[in-house]
Symmetry: D2
Subunit: 138 residues, 4 copies
């Protein structure tokens, strides 16, 4: 934790009443934490837009009966070791696997790796969740 | 304008420095206005999620040479008069038209009207911009 | 219209049944049109990602009682004449105005103009709808 | 794998040329696979919109020095055992943890659990990746 500072915001009474109802509904503990989270979300989006060092999760849904696919997914990760931190593999049912690949690196390189994995034949659906290394987002 | 109130937020010094750089880059006049805009964005998104009375813009890109299409687009708007406020038609080039339809009403009804217009054969691309009537967003 | 070609797609029966239910619900006339629209959406997104010449709509919700704001919004548009095609102004109620600004030009310049307008004090909410000039999207 | 069927799409030559360039850039093996992926993306989005049984990943970035936070995150997962499949915890650096929670269940319940976790004080950033159980997405 760095030094805590305090700043004040002037706002129309009706606007803050609407916001108070919203953060209570989302179960925030108090208004300050809801404001800080809104600020952090904008900063994380900016890190990705500026192609900075970020963290993220690549999610793959695939059919493990497809010959060679699991090997290919593993191979691609081994060729991208500088990005891949850890992988979790989940057996959803007899056919479907969900693979979660935690990644860290430049935003552009992560996007390219995600595209490469998601476009593989047999990968039914994929996604990339953008988050931060947390180094600048305190 | 309603009554102005003032509230304070405690925050890590490094987090607010990052946010200050961000709103300056986006040309906000000051930090309070950037915070208010972040609050308003969340409230507008919630109005749409809660299917409240909202405003929006349906955008259609289409080829005006397609027989019957312009008439169909006009007909559909006339059958949805309770939603449609005004329409602007722009001739982008010899083939392409851009039509902007300002709408107001329940979020679900607006979405259905947008789906109906965007799915018309000859409409190349369409979008729905979600905004607010401004009644609760001050 | 250019030359029409025809291509075929092999697909699992259950996948195409799910898609047929989806495009019927969205009121598409037939499967081909739903497929073409999915293709066009990806091409429009790519035009924006590649910073090509595109079209779009900037939407502003603002309080017209704010002194100087309407003049500032008009001024900014006059200083961006190369982008602005046409503007529609709608009186939502006694306080709230909805302004629709149709724009054309490079994606980056359009984004910067939108940021500049949306960050103005008194603009309650704003959005940028991305579409295409339609020149490459047929 | 179910029975394979084949259908054909008529399309303007320039539109399919644009799409061919796009899927090659994204490293798809062939056009059919790119079309199938576009179809699957729409079906997964619809599963979430219809509040069906889906799968997903909740991603949390948090500071493990915050007293009680890791326990709270674990407790909440234990109280949502019907949703949580598996959790992966990654130490990003001396302060920051990345936690990946694979979940399965009704879309509404998953969203509520994600909101609850993301709003916790000390969770810096969070996200929910929407994917499918793969049962209807083949």
């Amino acid at each position: 934790m760095g030094r805590l500072v305090r700043f004040s915001v002037s706002i129309d009474e009706r606007l803050i009443e609407g916001f108070d109802a919203l953060w209570r509904k989302r179960r925030y503990e108090n208004r300050s934490e809801a404001i800080r989270d809104a600020i952090r979300q904008q900063l994380v989006a900016q890190e990705w837009a500026d192609d900075e060092q970020v963290a993220g999760v690549i999610t793959l849904l695939y059919d493990h009966h497809r010959p060679g696919l699991a090997d290919m997914i593993t191979d691609l990760q081994h060729h991208s070791l500088s990005y891949v931190i850890a992988t979790t593999h989940i057996h959803l049912d007899g056919d479907n696997c969900l693979e979660l690949i935690a990644v860290k690196g430049d935003a552009g390189g992560i996007r390219a790796l995600a595209d490469r994995l998601i476009s593989l034949k047999g990968v039914k659906h994929g996604g990339l969740t953008a988050t931060s290394t947390g180094e600048r987002i305190v």
